[in-house]
Subunit: 229 residues, 2 copies
């Protein structure tokens, strides 16, 4: 690991015993920084090849460190993979929080779709790791799905059913709506290779992605059959 710049903050240390806590802090900083670097590289390799297809050697090479260092920071390939999944879920959870239960379903759903589209743009690799894991049976994240995603979904089902009962949305299966939002927004991260080939373009500009986001919001809002409260 290229430690030259990472260790720059310790050049002014002395021999005094009061240095010990600082040393500890420095070491902790090195560990956290290297872990974060490896996690980012691992996310890219897992996205490009899936769990079994990825190798610790590829992750090490991308991080610019010997293979053994990967095992120093993460005991096994599976432990590293699991940490990537946990990280990705944390961001998913933040976006999920934007789906509030206000009286205005158009704002709540529209805001959630925008948050999910922004996440697809900001972290497409994480979305791909998540998608690959589920496609391959979700064996390494059953706990996340049942303990974290499922309760969230059930709470949103209640909210959506309430909106429907009050005539704010068309009658529908709330789960089908949530699956639709996930599928459509994550499609732009997971299937970007297909989209690039079909559009003939390399990637979307920031402006173009904003316009696309509003297209998706409009589609989803119409799909809801939202009426004025």
């Amino acid at each position: 690991m290229k430690t030259d710049d990472r260790q720059a903050d310790m050049t002014e240390h002395s021999d005094a015993p009061s240095d010990e806590p600082m040393l500890r802090r420095r070491k902790a900083h090195i560990r956290l920084s290297n872990e974060a670097h490896l996690l980012a590289c691992a996310e890219a390799v897992f996205a490009e090849r899936g769990f079994e297809g990825a190798s610790t050697a590829m992750i090490a090479e991308r991080a610019g460190v010997p293979k053994a260092n990967v095992h120093y920071y993460f005991p096994t390939k599976l432990a590293l993979y699991r940490r990537v999944l946990d990280d990705v879920f944390e961001e998913w959870h933040c976006a999920a929080d934007t789906f509030d239960s206000s009286d205005n379903p158009v704002e709540a759903i529209g805001g959630y779709v925008r948050a999910k589209m922004a996440l697809s743009q900001r972290r497409p690799l994480g979305s791909k790791v998540w998608a690959s894991e589920i496609i391959q049976g979700a064996t390494h994240m059953q706990d996340i799905l049942s303990e974290r995603v499922k309760p969230w979904m059930e709470s949103r089902v209640v909210v959506i059913n309430d909106w429907i009962a009050r005539g704010l949305l068309a009658p529908m299966d709330p789960r089908a709506l949530l699956y639709m939002i996930w599928a459509v927004t994550q499609h732009y991260a997971d299937f970007d290779a297909q989209i690039k080939t079909l559009s003939g373009k390399r990637a979307l500009s920031k402006k173009a992605f904003e316009a696309l986001t509003e297209e998706v919001v409009a589609l989803v809002i119409r799909a809801c059959g939202a009426k004025a409260p």
Copy 2:
């Protein structure tokens, strides 16, 4: 390969020279039958593990044959993978044909969504192989995307824009609509592990899947903002 039942149709052959064509036909039948069996097993393994994660040994084991037989019928793992992708595309293409350019966009789009949902139910493993391949960069099917999928998409964009110009659909980006249809319908095949965990059920009954299909059709038709012609 368990040849006992597959060779039953040759027990009555004689020494006459007229047998030669029959022998050829029998051998051709064995080849086609074994190829089809291996392709089906390969599709399952590729769906469960992705291209790099799958091994020829796993495919052979699932097919009940020694590993060498896989290489007898398909020279390389990549050639076998490519044949699976071609097979999956052929069914995709059949479903795509149901999207006609009639004067009734509700019927055309609704029929297409039903065909795609039926395909997700009938062949979820193929959908997963396709999805994994695209997530991992679509490097092994660029030709299918640019030579087969892209022309189809462009022809449908023209049709949808025509419907919009005639006031039959709400103004929208036709590509965003097509991506939505793909994403939503394929979600039920690709993400079935997540859906099972979130719903707490093992799998959907035939009746339940029909009801779900109509939910999805209703969502998509509303998203189109379809009006009576």
